[in-house]
Point group: C2
Amino acid sequence: MLEELAQEGALQELVEQYFRSSFTTENPIITQAVKRMLAAGGKRLRPRLTLLAVQACGGDPTRHLHLAAYMELIHVATLIHDDVVDRAATRRGVNATAIDFGNRTSVLAGDYLFAWIFKNVTANYAAPIPQVLSTTLAEICDGEVLQLHALGELDTTLAQYVAIAKRKTASLFAAAAECGARVANAATQEIGALRTFGECYGVAFQMLDDLLDVTAESAVLGKPAGNDLAEKKMTIPLILALARADVPFRTSVAGYFSGDETSLGPILEAIERQGGVAATRREITHWIEDAKRALQPLPEGAAKKRLSGLADALLE
Amino acid sequence: MLEELAQEGALQELVEQYFRSSFTTENPIITQAVKRMLAAGGKRLRPRLTLLAVQACGGDPTRHLHLAAYMELIHVATLIHDDVVDRAATRRGVNATAIDFGNRTSVLAGDYLFAWIFKNVTANYAAPIPQVLSTTLAEICDGEVLQLHALGELDTTLAQYVAIAKRKTASLFAAAAECGARVANAATQEIGALRTFGECYGVAFQMLDDLLDVTAESAVLGKPAGNDLAEKKMTIPLILALARADVPFRTSVAGYFSGDETSLGPILEAIERQGGVAATRREITHWIEDAKRALQPLPEGAAKKRLSGLADALLE
């Protein structure tokens, strides 16, 4: 296992090298904006899924480092566009790209990066890889628009939440795993298995992200706790707490969403007290189990174990 | 000629029918934002170039209505993103999409539309059409970033201006014409001829757009005259006027760019007086001539005449 971890680390390092050294575009300002975003860190989970999927299907991951890198770059492009703020700045967090480069440059840098990725993908990968990735980008945007229109909607259901999370977050994890399987010429069943793994993993990942916003210290998050709540996002701990809650809790959340900013602390505490945190953990466990079960059709081996381990690591 | 004009009108009407009736996406909010943009009008020049290019190369334009429509949709997506404003609203014009839907939705709607187009193009058109279009989108963004960084740069040269115009505007006209030729299975020389036509037409088109900002009445433009100047854009009439200008003119432009808003009217008059308007007309004429000359390798016929006529119509 140690050797395999070392091997995975070495592959990851090759992806990082590509980001640091080879990655460049024809526009220096855009290259700079993207590199800064990449240098800010991140766990590179999407490229890891791609490389492990290649390996799990018997392919050679060193031959698909660029494809793995594109998964991270799609994520980076969506982050750059996430940073675009409305005239009446609705985000309270740090909006790195938009603040330092302005909204206009942020929009253009994200667009350019999408175009650059598609140019390279269509030039180097056969059907259906380009379709998978363009469909994924459409799903991400679709999910984000749905989320935008669900802001502050106290009646959002768990099913609606999952539908949004599948689009805005899980679709890219699903595509990362699927594309890895495809370039390794995997059988249809294996491709489906890895796509399902990626989707379940992605849903669990989004739920965990929501949970940390409620439970973690600001220093750990790199952004203020309760940031999602401040943006009126209907996160899963809030949805599950509301489903169990007494009337006063619902009233105080509605009050907070209407502008009573003093109540953030008590609401975070109440989400825990109403059982929202524990119920969210149970949901995450359920999606992690589904992710691992999806791996069944794949041959036993180091890559399958690592994928399973990545899923388990979400709740550790 | 009347019959051919009627035929072109009928083709255009089929494209409009597609926009009005068939065009839809999976996200109703995005569909609405895009349809509103399409309903606002436009001369649909990009689809026209595609259909005329198909015809000029002996193809059947009725088989490529969707490809023609995608050219307009790429343009619409860039317009939706153009509407995104910075926190300190730098645009004075009407920012329809961003004002009614917000910056966040505008960014997502544009992204979704790009993804939707690429999904359809990769599914339905063979190489190199998808590459041509993704390269074009990268060029448009590259040009817009370059333009953004040239704002207020009084020393911008004509060559720099043309380099920006080729990317941000002409590349899509070039791609529209090139793709039309390609789907008609045209010879390499014809493809090159139509691409060059599109590029020269596009540069002339951008120059004319700049000229109208200086010379036209606000009512004709649908936006205030001097709007480009208010955004500190280095338009061609301004560049050519500065090249001929006396020191006081340069000083007054610098003053206006530094915030002295009273001087817009006198500056617009001075651009004309310094010869900026006449010199721009000469430049446009030159690019129109180049566009028409590029058509030489194409067989004589109605489509070639119409393309030539479209170029002439720019200055009529």
